[in-house]
Symmetry: C2
Subunit: 523 residues, 2 copies
């Protein structure tokens, strides 16, 4: 049951100021109301997080892994209420939310196993060389330590997997960092259910309450205060470019600037190679729409740009895409704001004199439903107007018809940083692909072939990141086990007596961690 | 022989605008003159770096390691001219510069062996699971790739080990990044000799000239233009806090913001524990001065702050320190600017009404020589005035006499981020040390016991970094093999045909690199 509470370090509080959740299907307010957390709540939550940091950051790998597993168990224990609440608040279908719950809990358990694995500590020991000339070498021991309290901003488009207990929270917990979540106002009931599950796991494991706090609210001031709080040491954010840039600016203006790991925007180019098109242009056109309209196009990795050579095969691709899209029902978007921004974005493309609208879905009727649409322009026009590279968040995509290979390479070289870049090719396309791949590698965190960018595996080799403006930190990923590296920093201990060393570095290696000793890897 | 040239991608150019090197010993101009590189030179150098990036970034580990070794060989081949030029430009003694040359070449060779080792690529392969339900898993392969062209700012205080071919350049090369160096105007001849050696190695190895360029100059505009150049993707800097903050601001205001790895300032607290003081207060006082005056105090890790409990032992420590310092000759500082800033810093301390000057070295006579000095204040006064935490770059240190343990812990908790923090202790100090260590770990990149912070090993377990304002990027180190991680970013390749995969990720593993496959480490 939700009651709209703020959760600070295991304590709940009801605020006088309230807000409601809105049904994306009907546009009506849903039952119940939620507290607007205040800047005073921010200060209390962050102070409690700072107090919990040392204990939480120095748990043994097994203790921290058990906590992550307890969070997953507690989320599963919520049962169907979580799914029903999520469906009402997001209009996402049951199967999607059940799948996302599975991904969220699987992600927590994967981080648990990664924490136990221990390589993330990056332990390096260079033993003392007392006889070395001209000077002896001290005993040097490096390990990663937790960064400190992390502020996490839930995303609207993954109300479970990238919200309160999503990838940012899971990876920060895995690294040993207390988390203060600013809840997304589009799914406050879903957020509160998850927040209570996390709080229960914190209590059940006997951890300090400050390990987790949850601040629901609708204002930019709340988020700004959280990033500016002196006890916060890093920020995880998934959302719009404007939102990410605003948080980056606040973080940089602090007395002590802190890193913001913002995953912001991308149009995820898909390059159609000539031989792949000769072989299966129509099938590609149909499959393209399948990826485009998935989740009403509200994925960070949505294919918003298709780049291909002018050819009869491109006509075939477009015809198949137009047909597939025409058969598609308009789908509810997550919020009225997203829906409005989408309508503005597609309207700009529709009225652009160098852009042609190719087709759309069935017309939208519900208040937050949107017409999906595909557009076409020339390589020349695309190169001449950088406004055409702007992300339109939702199921809209622009096909770039390039005059020749040189123009295609120019279009790709001119792109901003992206989360993904996709190639459709056959063996016969290898010569051109060998020119395209090095460009795409510079543009994106993930380069894929003969698939579609939507669908992000949570695993060891995943990179969900990429050059600016896809993210604010191109050397990181927000999905996959590597994500926890964002919340770690190395510390070198020199000649510290064994009794005072952290357990991870003691000579007897009580936690049986993998180490690199004098340059050699031991497992 | 030096001729004052700018080196851009293997080509030399003489500018009309010139500057001279100044002898720190005499204050007189040294023979010869040096080109002032222009913003046009910046654009050319960065463009050439961008052109060289793909080839240089995708060399095999062995090819890149051989290049690093060739740079070391070429530096050694300069012979005594390097040492003589360095002595004239920096007033550092022969033994120091010979040692620093050894460190510089050793560092290049250590990175070469690290590049060959291959773990830095962080290769992770999650194999395809075509039968997985409900959806198959794609083949996912992660590797680190080079970030792109790096701008390096040479430091004045290590004219070899942290200048043109110093730690930033070596680690960027190791990661596969072309480098454009802004030469430090305090040692232009030394810089040019090294730059020519690097250029020779680039040519000898048949690499594109753009792998390295060298821009001598004296203006802030030159450095600003370098950081702002759109082809630059990251910055390595060692210098003042003001300088680092200025570069950070330029980097953040770019259309595409880039990371600045700035190692800026620290006062490197040394905590004297009661039992260690009972045992050897006088010896510690003498040794403290040895560390303080080393290199005229011009080390980033100079012990600028000593924290101890009020006690007769602290009187003994101070008496020994006063005596040792009084026997010390004043030493030439690197530049007139550093000398002036040092005099201003010590004069502020001398005139501070809560600070007592304990003693000094022999008085300075040469124009860029400085009187070393030690000061004392109370914990209360230190806590009340944050100006007392400001770095005075050079051989000056402030001893904080704390009333009790609580005040000592408060002083340490209130410190800014540091490169190092030092504890002097015996077994009997463990209880207090166990309270102090977690505080120091949050404050510094390296925590050491029973030694002095000056002297930074170049090895695997070293961290020369720390929380802001010691550095702009607390999760990194600028010394040791981990430093190359600053210039790498992960890319995931999904279902890319083997023929098109980078060699590092091909199934046959032609470079025999260590890999993590389906979560398991293989070597």
């Amino acid at each position: 049951m939700t009651d709209g509470a703020i959760l600070i370090a295991g304590e709940t509080r009801q605020a006088d100021a309230r807000f409601e959740a809105i049904s994306p299907s009907s546009g009506e307010k849903l039952e119940g109301s939620y507290s607007e957390a205040t800047t005073d709540d921010v200060a209390k939550a962050c102070s409690a997080a700072a107090e919990a940091a040392e204990i939480f950051g120095t748990l043994s790998p097994d203790e921290r892994a058990s906590f992550l597993e307890a969070v997953a168990d507690a989320i599963e224990a919520i049962g169907d209420e979580l799914i029903v609440t999520g469906m009402a608040e997001t209009a996402l279908p049951r199967a999607r939310l059940e799948g996302e719950r599975g991904r969220t809990c699987g992600q927590l358990r994967l981080f648990a196993s990664e924490v136990r694995d221990g390589h993330w500590l990056n332990i390096r020991i260079d033993e003392a060389l007392p006889e070395r000339k001209p000077l002896p070498r001290a005993d040097l021991r490096l390990m990663n330590v937790a960064y400190g309290p992390v502020a996490v901003f839930g995303a609207s488009n993954f109300p479970l997997a990238f919200s309160v207990a999503g990838g940012d929270t899971a990876s920060a917990f895995a690294a040993g960092c207390p988390v203060v979540v600013k809840g997304h106002p589009a799914h406050p009931g879903t957020g509160e259910l998850i927040a209570k599950a996390i709080s229960k796991a914190v209590a059940d494991k006997g951890l300090p309450g400050g390990v987790f706090s949850y601040l629901p609210g609708t204002t930019h001031e709340l988020g700004g205060a959280l990033v500016a709080d002196p006890n916060i040491t890093a920020v995880g954010f998934t959302g719009s470019r404007a939102g990410g840039l605003a948080l980056m600016e606040i973080a940089q203006k602090r007395e002590v600037p802190i890193p913001v790991y913002a995953e912001m925007s991308a149009i995820n180019p898909v390059v159609l190679m000539p031989h792949a098109m000769s072989e299966k242009a129509a099938a590609l056109g149909t499959a393209f729409i399948g990826s485009l309209v998935m989740g009403s196009g509200q994925f960070c990795t949505n294919p918003g740009l298709v780049v291909a050579l002018d050819s009869p095969e491109l006509d075939t691709f477009e015809a198949a895409a137009i047909k597939a899209l025409a058969d598609t029902q308009p789908a509810s978007m997550l919020t009225a704001g997203i829906c409005k921004a989408f309508a503005e974005g597609t309207s700009k493309l529709t009225s652009h004199d160098k852009v042609r609208k190719l087709g759309g879905s069935q017309p939208a009727e519900a208040p937050t439903s949107a017409d999906s649409a595909i557009f076409e322009t020339s390589g020349e026009a695309f190169l001449a107007d950088e406004a055409l590279s702007a992300e339109v968040f939702g199921a809209a995509s622009l096909i770039i018809r390039c005059a020749d290979e040189a123009e295609l390479l120019k279009v790709l070289s001119g792109l901003e940083g992206q989360l993904t870049a996709t190639l459709h090719l056959t063996d016969a396309d290898e010569t051109l692909a060998a020119k395209v791949l090095p460009i795409l590698k510079e543009k994106a965190g993930r380069v894929l072939a003969n698939g579609w960018p939507t669908g992000v595996e949570v695993t060891h080799a995943m990179v969900h990141g990429g050059p600016f403006p896809a993210t604010s930190a191109p050397a990181t990923t927000s999905v996959g086990t590597l994500a926890m590296q964002r919340y770690l920093r190395p510390v070198c201990y020199q000649d510290i007596p064994d009794a005072l060393l952290p357990a991870a570095l003691k000579s007897a290696n009580p936690w049986k961690l993998p180490r690199r000793v004098n340059g050699e890897y031991q497992s």
